[in-house]
């Protein structure tokens, strides 16, 4: 087990450098002068451009720029935006909000998705199965921004049940509707995955054995069936938490939530490369961490992986 964990940890290092380098290059190597649109219809004064070029090391070649960026990153400095705000500070104020939103979304998709999946997987064909099938197909076919805007318009502007945008530092209650918008797609996937997995394993030998041994039904389903069926779902949920942190770009934009997604949204709009790189690097870290945790959980759930 320890060797397995160590090997997984070592794998993180090249992945980290590879992804951050790619992000840095992709964001900063965008053709064109980053200051060309900053001064409206006139060109920016050269003095301003010079000052900014020096501040962001834009005269160095890209590799050197990246190394300088990494260097300051390891000392805990995430850099500064063009208007002089520390990116680290921006991230520090916004990540708790996104985390809250992602948790709400994961909770919604886990609870609703798993329940729907287990129920339909156990019952098999019937009205409930068809209902879930139709509704999940519907959800999967809707892009997040449609779901978000429809929820905002109907519940907010038309019915006035919720506020059309959330407050500066929203609590869990305010995040339920954005959470539904954000988690709806994955919720549908979770329901589908669970259903298939349960339906498959329901006829497996070990389940038959457990039933034959006279185990109570709740134990058969709760321990024997779920434990094995939940592995693919867990992989999905784990990496999804990472995806949600990033996927929140649209949802946070729509509900004006001041989280990481909102930061990227504005960073791209305003060409704030420093912000975009900083947040995406953070998201990469979250992703890596989540996939590590999922892999470890895998090992806990399935002993065969552990002794590999």
């Amino acid at each position: 087990m320890i060797r397995y964990v160590l090997r997984r940890l070592l794998q993180l290092i090249p992945v980290f450098f590879g992804t951050t380098f790619l992000i840095y290059v992709l964001v900063w190597a965008v053709p064109g002068d980053p200051f060309s649109g900053k001064c409206g219809q006139t060109a920016c004064p050269q003095a301003y451009v010079d000052l900014m070029t020096e501040k962001f090391h834009l005269n160095d070649n890209l590799i050197l720029q990246y190394l300088k960026y990494l260097g300051s990153l390891f000392t805990g400095d995430w850099g500064e935006t063009f208007n002089g705000t520390s990116v680290g500070e921006l991230i520090a104020t916004s990540y708790p909000i996104t985390l809250r939103l992602a948790l709400v979304a994961v909770l919604i998709e886990a609870v609703i998705g798993l329940t729907a999946g287990v129920l339909t997987g156990l019952r098999g064909k019937g009205f409930l199965d068809n209902l879930v099938l139709v509704s999940t197909t519907f959800l999967i076919s809707l892009p997040v921004f449609v779901t978000a805007i429809v929820l905002q318009l109907v519940l907010g502007t038309e019915l006035g049940i919720i506020d059309t945008s959330v407050s500066d530092n929203p609590g869990f209650g305010e995040l339920i509707v954005p959470g539904i918008a954000l988690g709806s797609l994955s919720m549908a996937y979770v329901a589908r995955l669970t259903r298939t997995s349960i339906a498959e394993n329901r006829h497996a030998d070990y389940i038959r054995t457990a039933i034959a041994k006279g185990q109570p039904n709740s134990r058969v389903v709760g321990v024997h069936l779920l434990r094995n069926s939940v592995i693919p779902v867990l992989t999905f949920l784990g990496t999804d938490l990472g995806a949600l942190m990033g996927g929140a770009i649209v949802t946070e934009g729509v509900f004006n939530i001041n989280g990481l997604g909102g930061l990227i949204f504005r960073g791209i709009q305003n060409r704030e490369s420093a912000t975009v790189v900083g947040v995406v690097v953070l998201l990469v870290l979250v992703y890596l961490l989540m996939s590590l945790i999922v892999d470890l959980l895998y090992a806990v759930l399935d002993p065969r992986i552990r002794y590999d």
């Binding site: 060309s36 060109a43 004064p45 208007n83 945008s165 509900f255 004006n256």
Partner: protein, 540 residues
């Protein structure tokens, strides 16, 4: 049952009475909103994250200037509704030759930290703004002043020899003198621009700390700022200017999307948005959404299509005439732009002093004349109009292209650029391969600001790379004419000369359509697309 009916009756009487009383009390509530004006209310406006630090010499875009302009008072200010300049901090601005300006400032004005505003605060601020190592985004606004080249050398690699412009001399606590490089009659209007605000002594000790907590001399004081969330200001009760505000707190709420801000406005969570999102404009939905809460202003700006002289085949007056006469401006502004623009008929914005209707004689839709001119031009090939495609820029230009296509029977394509930044680098790098969008908004309300920066040879926004020595000479002559009316006449002559050459094709002029909430009783949209805070009244 009986009892409840009696109760209902009583309630009805009370309600009717109170309604009658309320109607008597609030006699002035005619503009669609009811309730009394609340002098201690909060006014919440749509905001975007400032692009630069909140210092007047470093703020040139809407997001930042919404806060900066409320915090600082310049020598001259512009009225909210008609953009007329008036002396604000200036007691008097006198000149005999448009070259040396003697400026006296009013006494007793204070910065928000309690120190008095003196002549040296202006001189120090302007020197700071112009000094090239400070890298201020508005530094070029000081280029008329004598000695600018010493503090901001034209050669990028040269070091400035001094950090003080020789043209600025402090004559006393409340008087200073400005000497320009060459006569410039519009200088007394230009100094109303944000960059010319005074800065308190504390600024020069630590500019970086100041940017975190700006201290101005304007009608509103800085309270707090949370990046990407909001900027909060509050009323400065010691303010002596004319443009006092009639509410207490200003909350500039920063949004990631205009759509959301618009939804918030409709639910009365936001009080003002100066521009409407495309979804509200589509099919003129905004008119039914907003009704009484629609605010229409007039922005001082103009949209033109630049026809670059450096593109082969386009340097052809007949072709330019043909294109111009083939665009059905009235139809496009009505249908595609949903009445938010009006057709342009000259090179200066309508509503500016010196504007005359129909200066551009080829700006009328005239298919027959257009066809004739096109045949005469002998142009072969395809026409293109390039622009950034975001923010609703694309649709009207595609419509213009279609109009040209239908009238002239020539291929016309819209060429998109990814964003405004890339778009401007194409234009300033002279890499256009056809026509290009060339919009202009005035920094200060003067006919001069629509001509000098765009049509003088080598000017900073001369997107067509147009040169006409006669125009250059007229502009120079107008610049050096001290008498305002006489100067305007000469600027108009320059405009006439430009209209004959048609270096760019005027297309439309933006009205400025804004929206307010029910809680806002009155608000005016100023010429720079901002709420004129002094006009705002919020209700309880």
């Amino acid at each position: 049952m009986r009892r409840s009916r009696r109760l209902w009756g009583a309630a009805a009487v009370v309600t009717t009475l109170s309604l009658v009383l309320a109607a008597c009390g609030g006699g002035s509530s005619s503009s669609g909103s009811s309730g009394e004006v609340d002098p201690n209310g909060t006014f919440t406006v749509y905001g975007t994250e400032p692009q630069n630090t909140l210092i007047p010499t470093n703020t040139n875009e809407l997001g930042g200037s919404k806060a900066v302009d409320a915090m600082f008072a310049e020598l001259v200010a512009f009225k909210g509704d008609n953009a007329q300049p008036y002396n604000q901090m200036a007691e008097s601005i006198t000149t005999t030759d448009s070259k040396v300006f003697d400026i006296k400032i009013k006494q007793g004005w204070k910065f928000h930290d309690g120190t008095e505003v003196k002549a040296k605060n202006f001189v120090d601020a302007w020197n700071y703004g112009a000094y090239s190592p400070n890298g201020q985004i508005n530094s070029t606004f000081f280029e008329n002043i004598q000695g600018y080249d010493d503090v901001h050398p034209a050669d990028d690699n040269a070091k400035p020899t001094t950090d003080k412009m020789s043209g600025l001399v402090v004559k006393g606590d409340y008087e200073f003198q400005v000497t320009l490089k060459a006569p410039f009659s519009v200088f007394a209007t230009k100094i109303g621009y944000t960059a010319f605000a005074p800065l308190p002594d504390v600024f020069f000790k630590d500019p970086k700390a100041f940017a975190q907590h700006p201290i101005g001399n304007g009608p509103m004081k800085f309270v707090s700022r949370t990046p990407n969330v909001d900027i909060k200001l509050t009323r400065n009760d010691d303010y002596k200017g004319q443009d006092k505000v009639k509410f207490k707190d200003l909350d500039i709420k920063i949004y990631a999307s205009q759509e959301t801000a618009y939804q918030d406005l409709l639910s009365n969570k936001l009080d003002f948005i100066e521009t409407l999102p495309p979804s509200a404009l589509a099919g003129s939905k905004y008119k039914t959404d907003l009704k009484d809460n629609l605010v229409i202003g007039h922005l001082l700006g103009i949209s033109t299509i630049a026809v670059p002289y450096y593109v082969p085949g386009y340097d052809n007056l007949d072709l330019r005439k043909a294109i111009s006469m083939a665009i059905d401006r009235t139809q496009i502004t009505k249908t595609v732009m949903n009445d938010t623009y009006v057709p342009a008929d000259g090179y200066v914005s309508q509503g500016i002093e010196g504007y005359r209707p129909a200066v551009c004689e080829f700006c009328k839709f005239d298919p027959t004349a257009a066809k004739a001119a096109f045949a005469k031009s002998g142009f072969k090939g395809k026409l293109t109009i390039a622009s950034n495609a975001d923010g609703g820029r694309k649709e009207p230009l595609v419509a213009a292209c279609n109009s040209i296509k239908n009238v002239l029977g020539v291929e016309c394509d819209f060429v998109p650029a990814t964003d405004f930044g890339q778009w401007r680098s194409i234009v300033t790098g002279h890499k256009l391969t056809g026509m290009g969008r060339s919009d202009w908004s005035a920094d200060y309300p003067s006919i001069e600001d629509f001509l000098n920066p765009i049509y003088r040879s080598g000017a900073s926004s001369n997107d067509s790379v147009y040169t006409n020595p006669a125009v250059d000479q007229l502009l120079e002559q107008a610049d050096s004419t001290p008498d305002k009316d006489a100067a305007i006449k000469i600027y108009q002559q320059a405009e006439d000369a430009i209209a004959k050459d048609l270096p760019s094709i005027p297309v439309w002029d933006e009205k400025g359509v804004a929206a307010k909430s029910k809680h806002t009783k009155t608000v005016t949209l100023d010429f720079r697309r901002r709420a004129d805070y002094s006009s705002v009244e919020v209700t309880k």
